[in-house]
Symmetry: C2
Subunit: 163 residues, 2 copies
DNA sequence: ATTAACACGGATGATATCTATCCGCAATGC
DNA sequence: GCATTGCGGATAGATATCATCCGTGTTAAT
């Protein structure tokens, strides 16, 4: 069981887009450059975020991506579901209906207790992710992972990269 | 992101083993038969459960598997970790250290806020799974998925399969 | 002692998913 | 027009999951 790397990329880059001045945007190429990621592949993920309504994309020579809504309104769950899809991690295959003591359709009126438990666990997981927004990430990262020099380098890079 | 089918199989079959009379056991072949699963592949998972101390295995002509501890002491988390391994689903690749504004080692003193959030979500997921035991599953399944006929068929099958 | 039944681990292959790249198309601003 | 960019499809390689087979060691019954 593993979450794809694309989720990590997407959250990081939503954080970057969250500090871009209103009305400006960054291209897929620039976003890839920022964390040295494979540009074409990252583009796929950005397109998924766009389809999910998390980013707004603009085509053409002055195009690029920006957040489709305020950073405080985008949760880690939103991003995760956009990249990974919304199917649950646990997929009940109803094996209770197989074998010599197979449950009859009538006996399967209730959802399997095992599936139930895993679904509940996944709900907890989703709740936790839904409680953290891109704005939260930006705030924490700004105070914990950006010293003076990096903050300056970031601003310089942004000013040059933004369109 | 998906949990392997083996987890579902393992929980179901731990439930079966949980109602076997003390001192008796079931072979991998019998367990596979019960839910019509690929016997050889299931065997791999049973071996993993054995290595994890969830099942006790006995070799030889009258061998087989039984629960290594009471059903109330085996959680869904125990089983999941035994099958899936204990690595977290979210693997931080520290991309903040890459690119033109890479964070210095000093700035990475704190864990990345993103990794932190995903780890916390995963902790919630684990908590939920740790709060459900095989005994709970047996109890719920018995009352919800076993009508009179199936209960009887199950007892008959067990009496014949057990050793 | 021989035999049959069983768990165990390694090796191997098939299938699916993830990662990555490339291409043509459509849209946009100069 | 023309360069730049997002978009989706096609493709291929890498990795993980699913599945099978085989030799070995162990056990109990004959």
């Amino acid at each position: 069981m593993r979450i794809s790397e694309g989720v990590e990329w997407a959250v990081h880059l939503c954080g970057v887009l969250g500090v871009v001045r209103d009305g400006y945007s960054l291209t897929a190429g620039r976003l890839a450059e920022f964390h040295d990621l494979p540009s074409d592949y990252l583009a796929k993920h950005l397109q998924a975020l766009s389809r999910a309504g998390i980013l707004t994309a603009n085509r053409g020579v002055s195009g690029g991506y920006r957040l489709a809504k305020p950073a405080r309104s985008i949760t880690l769950l939103d991003i995760t579901l956009a990249i990974e899809g919304s199917e649950p991690a646990f997929r009940c295959t109803e094996i209770r209906r197989q074998g010599p003591c197979a449950a009859t359709p009538a006996a399967c009126k209730h959802i399997c207790a095992i599936a139930q438990a895993f679904m509940l666990a996944e709900t907890q997981w989703r709740k936790a992710l839904a409680s953290v927004t891109v704005a939260d990430i930006i705030r924490t990262a700004a105070s914990e992972s950006f010293d003076r020099a990096r903050r300056q380098a970031f601003q310089d890079w942004l000013n040059n990269a933004v369109k």
